[in-house]
């Protein structure tokens, strides 16, 4: 791991979300979303990712319980 790297832990409630047509957000789509916002500061990064999933949902909320834990390497050695 290097300085600035992040690790994101999450339960499946973060991506098992359906839109109005019944389409699942999916883990792959979450991966794409994470990559899109990776350059943002940590707080904004997580806010954007979670908000994108919420906006995808038909009810603009999560169907399942969600837990997300983010870590960022501040320094090594």
């Amino acid at each position: 791991m290097k300085k600035g790297d992040r690790v994101m832990l999450f339960t499946d409630g973060l991506f098992e979300v359906e839109d109005a047509a019944g389409t699942l957000f999916t883990e792959d789509r979450l991966h794409t979303t994470v990559t899109r916002y990776a350059g943002l500061p940590a707080q904004e990064f997580f806010d954007r990712v979670i908000n994108d999933v919420r906006q995808f949902s038909e009810r603009k909320s999560f169907d399942d319980d969600v837990c997300v834990v983010g870590m960022e390497v501040q320094h090594t050695g």
């Binding site: 994101m8 832990l9 991966h31 990776a38 050695g77």
Partner: protein, 85 residues
């Protein structure tokens, strides 16, 4: 006693008494900042993501081995672990 064995035993007591189907997952991480290493064990969680600074590439943290102890649950959960540098 290893952490996961303790957690497993404690959870087994609760789940055996439960009168309904319950799900439990666990992700255990040890961050070694001196060596810049992450060691983890994943029990039933989606793969965590390692997001690299600079290029923004995201990779799944996937394990490389099964648990070394039998589990009291049935069916046993899948556990994996890996060191990330």
């Amino acid at each position: 006693m290893p952490v996961f064995r303790q957690v497993n035993r404690a959870l087994a007591v609760i789940l055996k008494q439960a009168d309904t189907t319950m799900f439990a997952t666990c992700f255990y991480v040890v961050a070694d900042v001196e060596r810049a290493q992450l060691r983890f064990a994943n029990v039933g969680h989606p793969s965590a993501l390692h997001i690299q600074h600079g290029n923004g590439a995201a990779h799944k943290l996937q394990g490389n081995g099964p648990p070394d102890r039998p589990w009291e649950f049935s069916p046993p959960p899948v556990m994996s672990r890996q060191a990330v540098r």
